[in-house]
């Protein structure tokens, strides 16, 4: 692979600095190998996060324990997260240590060399994780871990129980004319995968094997379905709060969302329910270590801390998502009765096979072993054709 001159220069600089600090940072080796143990904290940790991912209620005890003071940069979208990590020479620009990337950005970060391999053995809770989140394809490439799974959520079908009768059973309801003008779906190119998953079942002749690995013909068939669906939509939602507003205002009766929206509306006694159709898509986030992380020890300490059952439970309830560590279940129930089941943490392994977790579309097709799939930019372009 051709390495840009700018990057060589940056590597030289980093190597020089690394050598200079080799004595103090002996425990975290610069260069090829991953560290074998976590050294003394650097006193500071800079993260790019989804808002509240280092929320005070669980970040404060960590700061006290480790002395690593957290500095946050909130991101509003996966695209913004990627550009923050990739800017200033890439690898977090020597400024950021960790990024809480979702599955639609994590592979891009790996292939752009903005994140580095980690030693998963340094994160003891990893052994307790649900099997699907130990080495998922969105953060582990060829057996190399580029971060630690964090939290996840299924994409659910939310509906107003007063308006939508009988209760829907699967995704077909958002493609049918019955509720035309009252449907909403997210404004996100990755939504193409939801339509592809629907076609996988309803149009087997297309031969869709993986909703994130679409050939040109499969992608254009999916775009066709989305264009047909468009007149049925009230709107595309961008922010979770936006979707809640349109439900509450009576403009939207059903649509694709996350457990967070459902629980928020139910907490306000608004008559909505959700189902997790089979199959469905889902998202999963990963704390990834920047390749130029200036505070790697604090970063490891955070990854270790945030995956422990108690902290996992706290974060899940702050944000409205599900832990990857099933031992968090009892702590969740202690904090909020029935929340473990409400967030689907107690489901059997077979359940997780029905959720297709977000991953960045790349030209390399897993199922054809060829470079025949459409990449993420093609998806962005296709999405613009749907929404424009």
């Amino acid at each position: 692979m051709r390495i840009p001159r700018r990057r060589i220069f940056a590597v030289v600089i980093v190597a020089a600095i690394a050598t200079a600090f080799a004595v103090t940072a002996a425990t975290v080796q610069a260069g090829s190998g991953v560290p074998t143990k976590i050294g003394k904290g650097e006193g500071r940790l800079n993260v790019i996060e989804w808002p509240y991912y280092t929320y005070k209620s669980f970040a404060k005890p960590f700061e006290k324990q480790t002395g690593c003071i957290i500095h946050r940069k909130d991101a509003g979208s996966s695209g913004q997260m990627f550009s923050l990590m990739h800017g200033n020479g890439g690898g977090g620009g020597g400024q950021y240590d960790l990024v809480s990337a979702s599955g639609d950005a994590s592979l891009r970060l790996i292939y752009a060399h903005d994140v580095q391999p980690i030693n998963i053995k340094l994160i003891p809770s990893w052994k307790e994780f649900l099997p699907v989140f130990k080495s998922p394809p969105h953060n582990t490439v060829d057996g190399v871990h580029y971060g630690v799974s964090l939290q996840w959520g299924p994409n659910t079908l939310i509906y107003n129980t007063k308006k939508v009768k009988p209760a829907p059973k699967n995704w077909s309801v958002i493609y049918s004319k019955k509720y035309a003008g009252h449907v909403t779906i997210p404004d996100n190119p990755i939504q193409i995968a939801d339509a592809a998953l629907y076609l996988e079942k309803t149009k087997p002749s297309l031969g869709i094997k993986d909703p994130y690995e679409l050939t040109q013909a499969q992608l254009s068939a999916t775009v066709k379905l989305l264009k047909r669906q468009k007149p049925l939509l009230k709107r595309f939602w961008s922010l979770a709060s936006d979707e809640i507003t349109s439900f509450k205002n009576g403009d939207v009766w059903l649509g694709a969302g996350w457990p967070y929206q459902t629980l928020a509306m139910q907490a306000n006694k608004f008559p909505v329910k959700e189902i997790v159709p089979v199959p469905t898509t889902g998202w999963a986030d990963t704390w990834m270590l920047a390749s130029k992380a200036p505070h790697p020890n604090c970063a490891y300490k955070w990854m270790k801390y945030v995956t422990t059952p108690q902290v996992e439970a706290k974060q899940a309830l702050v944000f409205g998502e599900t832990p990857v560590n099933p031992l968090a279940c009892k702590y969740m129930n202690k904090m909020q009765k029935g929340s473990c089941a409400g967030y689907h943490l107690n489901e059997p392994d077979s359940y997780f096979k029905t959720i297709k977790f977000w991953k960045t579309p790349i030209p390399q097709c897993g199922w054809t072993k060829k470079q025949t799939c459409e990449d993420y930019n093609a998806w962005i372009n296709a999405w613009a054709q749907v929404t424009g």
Binding site: S77, P363, I380
Partner: protein
Amino acid sequence: MATDAGALAAGPSLRRARLRLSGFLWRRPWLKALGLLSLPLAAFLVIYIGSLGALFVSSLWTSNSFTSDIEHTWTLANYRTIFSSANPYLHIAGFTLKMAAAVTVTDAILAFPLAFFMARVASKRTRAVLFVMVLLPLWSSYLVRLYAWQTILAHDGAINWALNGLGLPDQNLAYTNTAMWIVYSYVWLPFMVLPVYAALERIPDSYLEASADLGARGWRTFRSVILPLALPGVVAGSIFTFALTLGDYITPLLIGGTDSKMIGSIVDENFATNLPFAAAFTVIPMTIMGVYLLIARRLGAFEAL
């Protein structure tokens, strides 16, 4: 006092130097102007013109489809993408232009009578009250006003509530292009009222009297005297309403429906992952505004500002 003492202590040599400097500047007024203007001018050139130049240059580059790295090879590919009929971008640009034009015309029609009343009819006190009312919305955040409109236009919102109260059927206004047109016309209205007011206020009473003396009735005076003199004000106001609509992306996000994407929305979506394309799409409203400003100057809008 301390400084005076200091100046005295420094002796006459310092004072002489100061006098010499001021004399030097007095003899060379261009130097004085340069001293006053160089800093703001440099900021203007570097920050404003410079970044516009950088924007244009980067629109001729491309970005790597996977890593989003900018690739510094000269190409018109971004413009080809925009102008290709297979893509939705021309349609989006056209929609944005139509929206900006509709909002501008609406605001001109709404603002003219209000500005006329304020400038020529209202008493001093009423005028002050009206001024505050026109300006008041500008003192609250644009976002707050958009969210307020979201609830007003909603299916279970104020408008439908009022319609139902009158025995009329519900209107599906929320998340439509009509909703966007209403909201834009509302938020940019003050920017039209103020320049029109300024233009109307400047018309001397004697012109109207002369018109009456020559036998013109109200309508004739309005058409032949007031309107031509107020036109530069309307054009000046239209620069604001047109440009502000052309560049916005928040309203399509919060108020718009499924066919409401505007130029700003596309720039916002591509900014993080495909900067050169976002830059190329920005060049389009810039070109439109450039042409618009040239026409506005012809119509004397800049004297009315």
